[in-house]
Amino acid sequence: MSEQRDFDDFYRTCRHEIVRALVLTVGHRDLGLEATDEAFARALERWADVSGYDNPEGWVYRVGVNWARSKLRRRSFTMAGMFAESVHIDDLPEPELLTAVELLPIKYRSVVVARFFLDWSIEQTAEALSIPEGTVKTRQSRALTRLRRRLGERYES
């Protein structure tokens, strides 16, 4: 299979999931879409290397998150309320849960999305985000603690 063909297949297979993961992570539809395109463009630039990774999808996700973070800093975005523009959260069974996720710092949100939306293991998440497994566990734990604190007794474990 040619390199271009190989990338095309990867792109078509993974794009939807990466877009959704990045929109959920960065909390903004357009920014998530832009981050997805940027990340795939970078993957294409160095596809010879990226294709050899155990989890090229994880690499693209991380690049997208980092790129979006730089954009967020540049534009001084505030997160609150942005996500509502992207998803009709009123239709969700537990919209308050999504709002609480939205209010998490992005470093926690990226772990939450990787673990609970992309269904990656601790190991896969650590590799994708290029952080130690211990950091993934800590961030997940802190994220869940923050969510429980924000959501109250109903979500106590």
Binding site: V19, R20, R73, L92, V101, D119, L144
Partner: protein, 495 residues
């Protein structure tokens, strides 16, 4: 249902509702990709590792062929094979400190870049090293272990103690940097507390100081020789008093370069002037790289275009520029091994060309503050592991030693004896070469130069050196050897 299960369900549900109505084809990404290649991304934090392939040392003899040599500006460059593995390096009190990533392997200290001694970092089992910073009073190594951040402090680069890393920094640190006087930590979590600038002179007691022009943006904070710099897009802020007061300016595209968007890539301080490396996007033409300078940080003037295209790595964390003596030295990554220097930002000299020691530069670790310079990286072939390059300035050495009178380069002597014996070189020519070597050494400021010719064993020489290792004098010796060989003996000797 547990929180984890609810999270999974909610995120899956929300994700499925995200409208992805437009899907660019993979081919369109190629266009994006090409256009991106024209932009500069000064966000490189180079992590460099290399091992040595060439042993150079204290030959002190004739025909050593070590590969050392002087650049057109008179800086002497040396290839060395110590300390072997380097991921981070800096100069500071006591010389140079370098280290690999595993903290338990300790750090290497050198006064001259040639001889290295190893020191341990306490409580470092399983820890990693992230960066090394220095002021004129001490060293700070940052690293971590699992989730925890760790830091070590030393006044001399040799004896290290672990220091507490303030909890206030937590994991919101954006930048750690240092100037000659202070260490700085910028915590910049836009989602939580905003921007906070911390300053310390001993890496143990930290004080929060006003962040001045530093805002939670995509800008960069960097300690440089003689000051502190923050730049974001075309805006540059500089401080010479440890971040207490700042001068800020928005740099304009010089008319000499045409019209286009200017982006500041890096700023350095050379003498009493600030030097800004900028790139101007000219639209459908290739971007141009240039230097603007300023005395006060408010009024900037065009110095000239750069003789090299590549500026990746020049920015904060890139570690590819440094001040050595009165020169600003730059290693353009991707430049096939070139090293450039300037005294004023407008006139540039090629310190090393690609065909001298390196054929390519993959990365570099450079630090010239407050003494000397450590330069790394590159290789001789694509397959070769990278080779460090080191130079020191004569002013940094303070002790005096005399090089031994005994020949320490047996290969050179053996070669000399062989070419004399087989008649390739006459003894008269050999004597001329020895005399030329002595004259050449003295012309380069080396004192107490003597040589002895052994009719059957070649020549041995001695000369004074202000450093115990004699690295500069060895380089001059090799240069004088090569010079004479090139002029007189090359053909006959088959060199």
């Amino acid at each position: 249902m547990s929180l984890e299960q609810r999270l999974r369900s909610t995120l899956q549900d929300a994700g499925s509702r995200i409208d992805i109505d437009t899907e660019p084809s993979p081919q369109s990404l190629t266009v994006v990709s090409r256009s991106r290649q024209r932009r500069l991304r000064p966000i490189l934090a180079f992590i460099v590792s290399f091992a040595a392939v060439l042993t150079v040392g204290l030959t002190g003899g004739w025909l050593g062929g070590s590969g050392d040599g002087a650049s057109p500006t008179g800086v002497f460059w040396h290839r060395v094979d110590e300390p072997g593995f380097v991921a981070v390096a800096a100069s500071g009190p006591g010389g140079f400190v370098s280290a690999g990533r595993p903290a338990e392997e300790g750090v290497w200290l050198s006064a001259d870049g040639v001889s290295w001694s190893q020191s341990a970092l306490p409580s470092s089992d399983g820890a990693f090293i992230e960066s090394i910073f220095s002021t004129t009073d001490g060293w700070l190594i940052t690293g971590g272990k699992d989730e925890a951040r760790l830091a070590w402090w030393s006044e001399d680069g040799r004896a290290w103690t672990q220091v507490n890393w303030p909890e206030a920094f937590e994991d919101s640190i954006q930048t750690i940097t240092s100037t000659d006087e202070y260490f700085f930590v910028l915590s910049n979590d836009v989602f939580d507390e905003g921007t906070t600038l911390w300053r310390s002179s001993d890496a143990q007691t930290w004080a929060e100081i006003p962040a001045g022009p530093i805002t939670p943006t995509s800008g960069f904070l960097e300690g440089v020789s003689g000051g502190l710099v923050f730049h974001d897009e075309a805006v540059v802020s500089v401080s010479t008093d440890g971040g207490t007061t700042w001068a800020t300016a928005t740099l304009k595209t010089p008319s000499e370069l045409g019209e286009g968007r200017l982006l500041v890539v890096a700023v350095e301080r050379l003498g009493n002037r600030w030097m800004a490396f900028v790139e101007v996007d000219l639209g459908d033409q290739d971007p141009v790289q240039a230097v603007l300078s300023s005395v006060n940080g408010e009024l900037w003037e065009f110095e000239g275009s750069l003789p090299f295209r590549y500026m990746e790595g020049l920015g904060p964390g890139g570690q590819t520029k440094a001040i050595i003596g009165d020169r600003l030295v730059v290693i353009p990554l991707g430049s096939s091994g070139q090293i450039w220097s300037t005294r004023d930002g407008s006139e540039w000299a090629l310190e090393l060309s690609e065909d001298q020691y390196l054929t390519h530069v993959d990365g570099a670790v450079v630090d010239g503050r407050p003494i000397g310079i450590w330069v790394g990286l590159g290789g001789e072939t694509e397959e070769t592991v990278q080779t460090p390059v080191v130079t020191t300035t004569p002013s940094v050495v303070t002790t005096t030693a005399v090089m031994p009178d005994e020949p320490v380069d047996p290969d050179g002597l053996e070669f000399q004896a062989a070419v004399i014996e087989d008649g390739t070189v006459t003894f008269e020519e050999f004597e001329q070469a020895a005399e030329h070597w002595k004259t050449c050494m003295e012309e380069h400021g080396v004192t107490d130069v003597e040589y002895t010719i052994h009719r059957t064993g070649g020549m041995s020489g001695s000369y004074a050196s202000p450093s115990p290792q004699g690295d500069r004098e060895n380089a001059i010796s090799n240069l004088c050897d090569e010079s004479w060989l090139n002029q007189v003996l090359a053909t006959q000797a088959g060199y």
